[in-house]
């Protein structure tokens, strides 16, 4: 017998037939179909017990209640908390992205110390003792005022502990970053006395006159504002939007009134003049005005006639008159202020002028109006024990009222004006005007300590980083602000165990104080921050711990407060913009892009349209009439006295001619591939403009030159 090709054929056929009648093909078909439907490399949510933890979001001052869904110990989804007094189940895109902050690639995982241009990891013990050593040296030199501190907000127990440490140390140089809350308090202080603040009852108002407030673009408490706006049509309420640009709020409003940037105060005063002239003001309210109301009325009649106001603002006389009349005749009108998100630089004159309209028509402490209430200090810290050094220190004057004053002082001093700086949860190197100057000031401060969760622009400038838990890893009281009509304190809870070697900011301060010892140590004798909060929250702790929030004030406050017109009666000058370009560059607040710390989550930045960010380029808005021969997405170079930037243009009929609008919140430079190196930071192009009379940085824009790139 000879083995030939037919034998092989037989072999092959036999093999095929043998396999075919065996279970191999049936089984492999089944397995391969399961495999292709469940690719092993596709992440699959882990199965486990579902639970929900209620907490409070502190990404913005909106302070919404959140419900975090967990599978076993892992948080997997964030939703708005039903029946929470601020947002009642609603959530914004940043709120639902909270978990991305937890796993952010820029998270700082352990204490770091600057060595050359790089950071090296150190232990908590070493980090705290290095900070304590530096602070002891400053105290030994009898210059406690040379310790400065920047915090993100004025209220709450963590801010309270920073203030306590600064006071016990003997320094008055504690500053908060500019915020909507700070502007509300400054405005209320000027008109109604110190220690008060303003809330707007938008959900009951029948006529909202907005001077550039992005009511549906992140202004105030965003979700609460969305809800108030959503019910506007049902309630028959009107929204008039005054701003140079057809923003989403303007497009959604009943009327959009375009105005020359920076003339909002003049318009408000012009409208006040109309209301006075037509006798549409609330006589009973006006009778109680103090501080030269008659003088103000005379100034208004002389300097803010319809024709003059129209000339200044670029708005037709009939529009000014009609808007003022409708506002005054409405049953429950309210004028709201704070351009964009309300936390950028604002002119105090403008805010006071706009709020004066509320005072004039009697919309103070009335349903649907503006509520003036005392700022509630709901925490009961025990009185500090002060040693001699502390007493001497706090007798020394503060460098200035605002954070920009601190940096100016540092920059102009030949000797270090500040030996050590604490920066807590804020990003001045990104968020303040003229970032170059701010970074220069950081360079002149010998010892910068950052209390940050993320390696952002400011943390990158620090000498020591003490990384703090993100807010969903820690317990903290979160007082509402943001111009809400009601005052609520929420309790932010640790939803998840800390992922990294981070600490609670309160616990870090306790450690530093203990290391310093003496009277400072005595002032921080709590076993932990959690114990401290329980103690200082006093009467509201029961409600906080039981229901997750405590309501400090709701409903219409009693009796309207006094109104002092002194500031406006002095006829303060208006803020002028810097530069000599032909066009005006103004910032735009976009709901999807936070402009202060922390930066946007990867998800939020993905939702930004191509008309704002195209690839890695910022797209600026410009009217076709101003653009001349330029076409959509042409590259141009913007030049201001502060800096230059290459951007793309978007021709937009909704932008006032002569004005260029650039979004805030882009151009981060820290190490986060999802968020950084996209677009330009507008604060690199705009410098501060200090308002005469108030001292705030009131830059509303800057003159700019544009050339084809």
């Amino acid at each position: 017998m000879k083995v030939d090709r037919r034998s092989f054929l037989g072999l092959g056929l036999g093999a095929v037939a043998g396999i075919s009648v065996s279970p191999v093909i049936l089984k492999l078909t089944d397995d391969s179909s399961i495999w292709t439907q469940n690719w092993p490399w596709t992440p699959v949510p882990v199965d486990g017990e579902v639970s929900y933890v209620s907490s409070v979001c502190s990404l913005c001052p909106g302070s919404c209640g959140i419900s975090v869904r967990k599978i076993d110990d892992r948080p997997v989804k964030v939703e708005g908390l039903d029946e929470y007094p601020i947002n009642d189940g609603g959530a914004c895109l940043h709120g639902i992205s909270i978990l991305q902050y937890l796993y952010d690639p820029a998270r700082i995982k352990t204490p770091l110390k600057k060595k050359g241009d790089k950071f090296e990891e150190i232990s908590w013990d070493d980090a705290v003792s290095m900070v304590a050593k530096k602070l002891s040296d400053i105290r030994s030199a009898k210059t406690p005022e040379k310790l400065a501190c920047i915090i993100d907000k004025d209220q709450g127990s963590v801010s309270g502990l920073f203030k306590r440490l600064m006071k016990s140390f003997g320094s008055t140089n504690l500053y908060t970053m500019p915020s909507f809350e700070s502007y509300l308090e400054l405005t209320a202080a000027a008109l109604h006395g110190k220690g008060t603040t303003i809330g707007f009852d938008l959900e009951n108002s029948d006529f909202v006159l907005s001077f550039g407030a992005g009511v549906i673009e992140g202004w105030g408490s965003p979700v609460s504002c969305f809800k108030a706006n959503a019910s506007r049509k049902e309630r028959g309420a009107k929204l008039y939007q005054i701003e140079p640009r057809l923003s989403n709020t303007a497009a959604n409003a009943d009327k959009w009134v375009p105005i020359k940037p920076g003339t909002e105060a003049d318009l408000a005063l012009g409208m006040a003049a109309v209301i006075l002239k037509k006798n549409l003001f609330d006589a009973a309210a006006a009778a109680k005005f103090k501080g030269g109301f008659n003088k103000l009325a005379a100034t208004l009649q002389n300097d803010y006639s319809l024709s003059k106001t129209s000339e200044i603002t670029g708005i037709k006389e009939t529009d000014i008159e009609e808007t003022a009349t409708l506002f005054a005749k409405a049953k429950m009108p309210v004028a709201v202020f704070g351009k964009g998100r309300g936390d950028g630089s604002q002119s105090l004159k403008e805010l006071i002028a706009v709020h004066s309209l509320n005072c004039l028509v009697g919309s103070i402490n009335r349903k649907g109006g503006a509520f003036i209430q005392p700022v509630k200090n709901y925490l009961e810290f025990p009185e500090e024990s002060m040693d001699d050094a502390a007493k001497e220190g706090i007798a020394k004057p503060k460098f200035g009222q605002y954070v920009h004053d601190l940096f100016e002082k540092v920059n102009v001093s030949s000797q270090p004006a500040v030996e050590a700086l604490f920066v807590y949860q804020s990003n001045p190197c990104y968020a303040l005007h003229d970032t170059k100057t701010i970074k220069q000031a950081f360079g002149k401060i010998p010892f910068v300590v950052s209390f940050s969760s993320f390696m952002d622009e400011t943390a990158g400038e620090a000498d020591i980083i003490l990384p703090v838990h993100t807010f969903i890893e820690r317990l903290e009281d979160i007082p509402s602000g943001a111009g809400l009509a009601k005052m609520v304190v929420g309790l932010s809870k640790p939803v998840v165990k800390p992922l990294f070697n981070t600490k609670h900011p309160g616990d870090i301060l306790l450690l530093i104080a203990k290391a310093l010892g003496g009277s400072i140590g005595k002032n921080f004798e709590w076993a932990s921050y959690d114990k401290c909060l329980e103690t200082v929250a006093g009467s509201i702790w029961k409600s906080l711990s039981k229901s997750g929030h405590a309501i400090l004030a709701k409903g219409v406050p009693e009796a309207p407060p006094e109104v002092d017109m002194t500031f406006l009666a002095g006829n303060p000058a208006s803020v002028q913009s810097n530069g000599d370009g032909d066009l005006m560059l103004i910032p735009i607040d976009n709901m999807r892009l936070p402009s202060s710390a922390p930066a946007a989550a990867p998800f939020s930045i993905k939702t930004v349209s191509d008309e704002v960010l195209k690839g890695k380029d910022t797209v600026v808005e410009i009217n076709p009439k101003t653009a001349g021969s330029l076409k959509n997405y042409d590259y141009v170079t913007l030049t201001t006295p502060v800096g230059t930037a290459k951007v793309m243009i978007n021709l937009n009929d909704g932008m006032m001619p002569g004005v260029i609008g650039m979004v805030k919140g882009l151009g981060h430079t820290f190490d986060n591939k999802y968020v950084s190196n996209k677009g330009v930071n507008i604060n690199d192009l705009i410098g501060p403009v200090i308002e005469p009379g108030s001292g705030v940085d009131a830059a509303f824009g800057i003159k700019v030159k544009i050339s084809r790139a």
Partner: protein, 223 residues
Amino acid sequence: MSKVEHKSESGSEESTGECAAGDTKDDKGLGLGVIFFILAFVICFLSGTLLFPKLLYSKKEQPFNFDHKLHVEQTSDCESCHALREDGSFNGIPKLAKCMECHSETPLGETKDEAVFAEMYVAKEKEVPWYVYSRQPDCVFFSHAAHTKTKGMDCVTCHGPIGTSTTLKPYEENRITGYSRDIWGQNIWGIKKHSWDRMKMDDCAECHKKETGHQGYCFQCHK
């Protein structure tokens, strides 16, 4: 006869001769071919039936042995450990916290396995990484509550008499799909003797058809 014709004739003769010879060889070749065919058939068939399952599944040992019988004797039912949660979902294999309702770092008995459990997991507060024989793919939704609570089905119907076992068998993982052999069943042909022998979709459908008159719709399980 011309040269060409001769060639042609002899050629045809040769070819005839070859054909004749070829016929004889063909018969032999066919015979060998048949033998090869049968040989290959038998080898491949046996390999596909006996060797293939051994290649397809990898055997993994559980972290330590678990005596279901002993635990059932103590608790008297399955639900003491494998229970429905408050929201109606099923807890599956209990977590460490559940075990620690009875167990602690000090073993209750004297078995080697409990010592491993106490030392390696309870003391270290580490979850036991059990292999789950009945884990279905993620694309399958299954409600234990609907079957055991609403319809009163017995655990044994699907899971078999595991409550009387004293040892855990090795976990056989399908190298292609990553799922347990128990889903397809021990029998490579997919033949079952008991209702708990397989956990494939057809088995669900078969029971549904029998109990409800309809095999069910796709979205009932594939949501």
